[in-house]
């Protein structure tokens, strides 16, 4: 790892100031994506701005008909939260299947969503529930936030502060995990509620996407059989040592069906 300066601001405003002042600075939350990358010298930030001292970024609360989760909230906290489990059990289930215990003890929702790894779990739930991303500058709809592999609507000096999930009537998640890393090979997050009927596919393509043919079918009839016959096109899906695009296209149908069964 190359060395860097270290800052631990106590407020979002101070963190934004540090970030704006240094184009080569990087934010760090749980560090479970950033530190492995730095260890391989894939990145050379001049300084790290540690968000972990900012109390405003922590916590889970129910506000009206939504669950609002602070950016620094760790996967273990979402997985074991009574508030989340009561309102959106599919979200707690998803968080409880990220990586392993130790990854969940450090990794945060803000880090995962800002990073937008195509194989990550959270982007599926955020888009699949039609959530709203709160930042240091504005609020962004999930439909506008994810912009393909490792790319989001966040600007260079913008910090993700919280995510607001509208409470659905039903939601379900299923993933085929890579047996070594537990990252997603192909996953589906389905929901029905204030944001309409959503079927979001993660892991399979270069970024999360909505599967509109399956959404139309589920809107007409909410049943596992409704998505089972719909073929996912393999064009544009990922092909790598873990699986071909054709295999992933097949998994999309299987995972969507399992997600609908899970949603009930």
């Amino acid at each position: 790892m190359y060395d860097f300066a270290y800052h631990k601001p106590a407020s979002v405003a101070d963190a934004v100031k540090l970030l704006a002042a240094d184009p080569d600075a990087k934010l760090v939350s749980g560090g479970h994506t950033l530190l492995p990358a730095l260890k391989h010298r894939l990145n050379k930030p001049s300084s790290l701005i540690d968000l972990s001292g900012i109390a405003d970024l922590k916590g889970i609360k129910k506000v009206g008909n939504s669950i609002v989760i602070g950016a620094l909230t760790r996967h273990v906290e979402v997985a074991t939260s009574d508030v989340v489990t009561a309102a959106i059990p599919a979200l707690a289930y998803m968080a409880s299947h990220i990586g392993d215990v130790q990854v969940r003890n450090r990794g945060t929702i803000g880090g995962s969503v800002s990073n937008n790894d195509p194989a990550a779990d959270y982007p599926g739930a955020v888009l699949g529930l039609g959530a709203t991303i709160h930042t240091s500058k504005r609020k962004i709809a999930a439909d506008d936030f994810f912009q393909g592999m490792f790319t989001t609507a966040l600007e260079a000096d913008e910090i993700l502060t919280a995510i607001e999930f509208p409470i659905p009537e039903k939601a379900g998640y299923a993933k085929m995990k890579n047996p070594a890393s537990r990252y997603v090979m192909a996953g589906a997050f389905v929901s029905k509620g204030p944001m309409g009927v959503r079927v979001v596919i993660n892991g399979a393509g270069p970024g999360v996407f909505r599967q509109s043919a399956m959404e139309t079918a589920l809107a007409a009839s909410w049943a596992p059989g409704a998505v089972a016959g719909i073929k996912q096109d393999a064009d544009g899906l990922n092909s790598d040592i873990h699986g071909s695009a054709e295999y992933r296209a097949h998994l999309v149908g299987v995972m969507a069906k399992r997600a609908v069964i899970a949603a009930g």
């Binding site: 790892m1 190359y2 060395d3 860097f4 300066a5 270290y6 631990k8 760090v28 560090g31 479970h32 530190l35 492995p36 730095l38 260890k39 391989h40 300084s47 790290l48 540690d50 972990s52 990586g99 392993d100 215990v101 130790q102 990854v103 003890n105 450090r106 070594a180 890393s181 537990r182």
Partner: protein
């Protein structure tokens, strides 16, 4: 150089580190606590697991500077002052839950966190899932799982000794 003050196995240390110093480097190279191992560079093997404020964490993927004020427990901090092993250590010995021993410090620390978080008890499946972050190249895991089940009984007061659980 940044200075970090933390408590390791009950003893406070104040150490000068670089921004990039990992917690495992602080433990092994500065404090000479070499029981914590490094088995990979992809954050996957769990040989480096320690407790930070009671929770299991991969010390190879945690910056030392991020541990200011933290309470850290390593494998060296588990046995009592008179050398009596922690029930989890005793169970690993009793059940032959190790061969080369490289993964063992991380396994033991992960297992203690797992048992403490489940006062209601653990099924075999829950133990296996709880060990997803720890790889062992030698044992095939079966005896590790048995050891953890026995230690859980002792830690939760269902049996008095590991030997009794082994019967």
């Amino acid at each position: 150089m940044p200075q970090v003050t933390l408590t390791v196995n009950g003893k406070q240390h104040s150490v000068a580190v670089e921004g990039r110093t990992l917690l495992v480097e602080l433990l092994r190279e500065k404090l000479r606590l070499t029981g914590t191992h490094v088995g990979c560079d992809t954050s996957q093997c769990g040989a480096c697991v320690v407790h930070i404020n009671g929770e299991s964490v991969k010390s190879c993927t945690t910056l030392a500077v991020m541990c200011e004020g933290a309470q850290v427990t390593t494998i060296e901090g588990l046995a009592a002052a008179d050398g009596t092993l922690h029930p989890m250590q005793e169970a690993f010995r009793e059940y032959h839950a190790l061969q080369c021993g490289f993964c063992t410090p991380g396994m033991v620390l992960s297992a203690i966190d797992l048992v403490q978080k489940h006062p209601e008890g653990l099924t075999e499946r829950e133990i296996r899932e709880g060990l997803e972050g720890n790889l062992c190249r030698c044992t095939g895991y079966h005896n590790i799982v048995k050891a953890i089940a026995a230690a859980a009984d002792v830690m939760h007061g269902k049996r008095d000794t590991i030997a009794a659980a082994a019967e």
